[in-house]
């Protein structure tokens, strides 16, 4: 088996996870910027985090022969403070030319507030001005449906944005259709409690098709499993899917989206 982990917060994982992922067939890992579990006290904290994502973490992954890529932003959980958000977004352009940066992400909404939406629009503008791919976080639980609709409206309102260059992540049964109907890519996140289980992810793949879909573990410091993608591939085998179909979903699809940035290469 071979697969891409297109969404893993590796800074919060132990080194053994890298080894386990490589042993399971992982060929590349992509790490969006996210909330650290606490609010940073200022833009300097984000500068250090961006250095970690673009310098230290790729070296840690490289010890296991695993290419590491990243996405940069201020996450929606810290977007309520618009002064901080502006300062952090001003830092991002100097990192965009670093060799493992794929685009702007994971931007989006958390509690669907006006300030979060303004910062999302500013991120969309930043991505458009620098011709970057976009990775979007959709809100949790009861906030996901409303937030996904607001996010799609914000994306469509900026005519510079091509839906095929945007992935809307953490879709579930009530949001995947609207994302695909608008021409965006959809990410299905595999979590033990919230988001989606492997059987549900495969249900969505079977019902809605897998043309513009990827699977990810979004492993972080919470309850999550860095091997969720290969475990879902095993579940697909149990459901009778062919090796070619599985490879398409867990390996070829993420490559097709991510290769829109020429920095993304897998050997």
């Amino acid at each position: 088996m071979r697969y891409i982990e297109p969404h893993g917060h590796m800074v919060s994982r132990v080194t053994d996870d890298y080894e386990a992922m490589v042993l399971a067939g992982c060929r590349a890992v992509c790490e969006p910027a996210f909330w650290a579990g606490y609010d940073r006290s200022g833009p300097e904290g984000f500068y250090d985090y961006f250095c970690q994502l673009t310098d230290y973490e790729p070296k840690r992954a490289a010890k296991f022969g695993l290419p590491h890529f990243t996405w940069l932003c201020i996450n929606p959980k810290e977007s309520e403070d618009m002064v901080l958000a502006k300062e952090v977004m001003a830092l991002i352009p100097q990192f965009l030319e670093r060799p493992n940066v794929l685009g702007i992400g994971e931007i989006g909404l958390n509690k669907n507030t006006r300030n979060e939406l303004k910062v999302l629009e500013q991120h969309i503008d930043l991505a458009a001005r620098h011709d970057q791919l976009i990775l979007v976080h959709t809100p949790h639980l009861e906030d996901k449906y409303k937030g996904t609709r607001l996010i799609l409206d914000a994306m469509k309102a900026d005519t510079r944005i091509e839906p095929a260059r945007v992935i809307i992540d953490h879709v579930e049964e009530h949001t995947i259709q609207m994302v695909l109907d608008e021409g965006f890519w959809a990410g299905i996140t595999l979590y033990p409690e919230s988001k989606t289980t492997p059987p549900r992810a495969i249900d969505m793949f079977e019902v809605y098709g897998g043309q513009r879909v990827w699977l990810n573990s979004a492993c972080d410091w919470g309850r999550s499993d860095p091997l969720a993608v290969p475990k879902t591939a095993v579940e697909m085998r149990r459901r009778g899917h062919s090796d070619e179909t599985i490879d398409q979903l867990v390996f070829q699809n993420p490559i097709r989206f991510l290769s829109q940035n020429p920095r993304f290469t897998v050997h």
């Binding site: 509690k111 639980l141 009861e142 996901k144 409303k146």
Partner: protein, 92 residues
């Protein structure tokens, strides 16, 4: 896959989760004091299981979702609790 194959694959897991839900409701019934809006939301979501068509997962998710369309003025906190305090959406 055939229905028989799907039952062979998933029945025991679904049975286990079904009993867990029943035991959860029993546990809450035995508890003391008032329950907040989540219990009503949970019971309403359970009704989605009686649908006669394969949109039950979507129906449950929609019934637990915030149906409003305007961004709110200020975040009440960072987390989500899994149910919306108002009346959820009926999935058509």
């Amino acid at each position: 896959m055939t229905r028989q194959q799907l039952l062979d694959l998933y029945f025991m897991d679904a049975r286990s989760k079904l009993i867990d839900i029943a035991a959860f409701l029993d546990r809450v019934d035995r508890g003391e004091g008032d329950a907040d809006f989540r219990l009503d939301a949970f019971r309403k979501a359970l009704a989605e299981l009686n649908r006669g068509e394969p949109v039950r997962a979507k129906g449950v998710l929609m019934s637990l979702s915030d149906p409003t369309t305007e961004p709110i003025a200020k975040a009440p906190g960072k987390g989500a609790v899994g149910a919306w305090p108002g009346t959820g959406i009926r999935c058509e």
